[in-house]
């Protein structure tokens, strides 16, 4: 593939849930190969909706979706997109349904037509890559929240996607798991889109940050200028300007 080839392109997408007001309104967006983007936005601004539209889980009322250069329209087109783009759900509990970790990770490759031996081999390799060796026979349902998230990531990566969409990959996770995920994402050579409320996390994993506002997506800046953390100070003791991104906070 050529340099900067476009992976996904959304053109003038409109969307509203049945009976609701418009969520996305003439949204345009492009993901280039290898690009690492962050998306922020208020609750309910439509971030999850946008990802679901890319994956073909929701159908926009108007607009076109292009993936790998060609328009995506039929069911078959979307099946194809789903094989090439990995999607990590907001809640790992929704993503894992096999009894053991190994079976869960091998599920995708089996659907792609791999033989059981091959699928198992791919699953083992992915586990190793994510430092999850020894997890293969663990019961998925009984893993901790952070472990579930890592296994969910493994189920996506094993399919060797060309790009990743990650919906709030770190909510509810503790610092250790956070750091593992950051290290992992930085070691990937594919592009991804991360939706998150955590600036700090975005700053450490992405290059450009966009935000979703009024149904559209706008460029927000280079992530290197951003950082966030909880801090305390007595009023007036330390001088720093509180430049916030939106006026509400």
């Amino acid at each position: 593939m050529g340099e900067n080839s476009v992976i996904i392109q959304l053109e003038n997408i409109d969307f509203s849930y049945a009976g609701g007001k418009p969520v996305l309104d003439d949204l345009c967006f492009t993901l280039e190969e290898g690009a690492k983007l962050g998306i922020i936005g208020h609750n309910g601004s439509g971030k999850t909706t946008m990802l679901h539209i890319i994956m073909g889980l929701l159908k926009p009322s108007s607009g076109t979706i292009r993936a790998f250069g060609k328009p995506i329209e039929t069911k078959k087109d979307f099946l194809d997109v789903r094989r090439k783009i990995g999607f990590l759900f907001q809640d790992a509990d929704d993503q894992l349904f096999c009894p053991t970790v190994l079976e869960d990770i091998a599920f995708g490759p089996l659907n792609l037509g791999k033989s059981p031996t091959e699928a198992r081999k791919m699953a083992m390799e992915t586990l190793e890559r994510l430092n999850l060796k020894g997890f293969e026979e663990r019961v998925t349902h009984k893993l901790s929240g952070g472990e579930k998230k890592l296994v969910a990531l493994a189920t996506v990566l094993v399919m060797e996607p060309k790009a990743l969409l990650l919906d709030e990959p770190t909510t509810g996770l503790d610092e250790d798991t956070n750091i593992r995920i950051i290290t992992l994402l930085n070691s990937l050579d594919i592009g991804y889109i991360i939706v998150s409320h955590e600036y700090d996390f975005l700053a450490r994993t992405t290059r450009d940050i966009y935000s979703v506002q009024n149904g559209q997506i706008v460029y927000d800046g280079d992530s290197s200028a951003l950082h966030s953390h909880y801090h305390r100070h007595l009023m007036g003791k330390f001088r720093h300007r509180h430049e916030t991104l939106s006026s509400q906070i």
Binding site: P99, E137, V139, T140
Partner: protein, 214 residues
Amino acid sequence: MHISEGILSGPVLISGIALAAAGTAIGLKKLDYDRIPRAAILSAAFFVASLIHVPIGPSSVHLILNGIIGLILGWGAFPVILVALTLQAMLFQFGGITTLGVNTMIMALPAVFCYYLFGRLVGKRPHIAMPAAFACGALSVFFGAVMVGLALTFTEENFLKVSYLVVIAHLPVMIIEGIITAFCVAFLRKVQPDMLPGYSKQTSFTPSKETAGD
């Protein structure tokens, strides 16, 4: 698997109601008040699962799952199936009022029967448990189809041939239910073995640390 309104005769309908009431009474007696939420929410899962359509050849069938519900709930299957059927009638108008008793019997009696036949076996070693689970799923559908046939034949002797057809038509469903029940039992044995009967006595199949303690 149910019989619509307007087909069965008075005596069959009344016997169905009487038998279903007896079964439900036993089931309720075994269901303490503090087990009601569990039975109800499992029943909701059962309701949703039985709306799933699985492909078979060029067509698809919806699952019945009375075998697995029997394994999980034992006699509790009676009230749970009665309630699920009532809801199906209220929400989709499947089944009906007069046939509620017969339809409950059709699904719940095989469920309880299979619970007694296979309940102990599904907790044993895999080479016993898996065939037992398959048989449980398949036979609970088979017995259900036989009960449909009996209800029809008792209504009208001339329905005998229809009854044969009903049983034959359920053969593919039996096989699928058998397979699904076997995999489902395999799943529960690994993930939550205490949901299956006979688990407390038989722990040898779960070497993992998480479950060894209790």
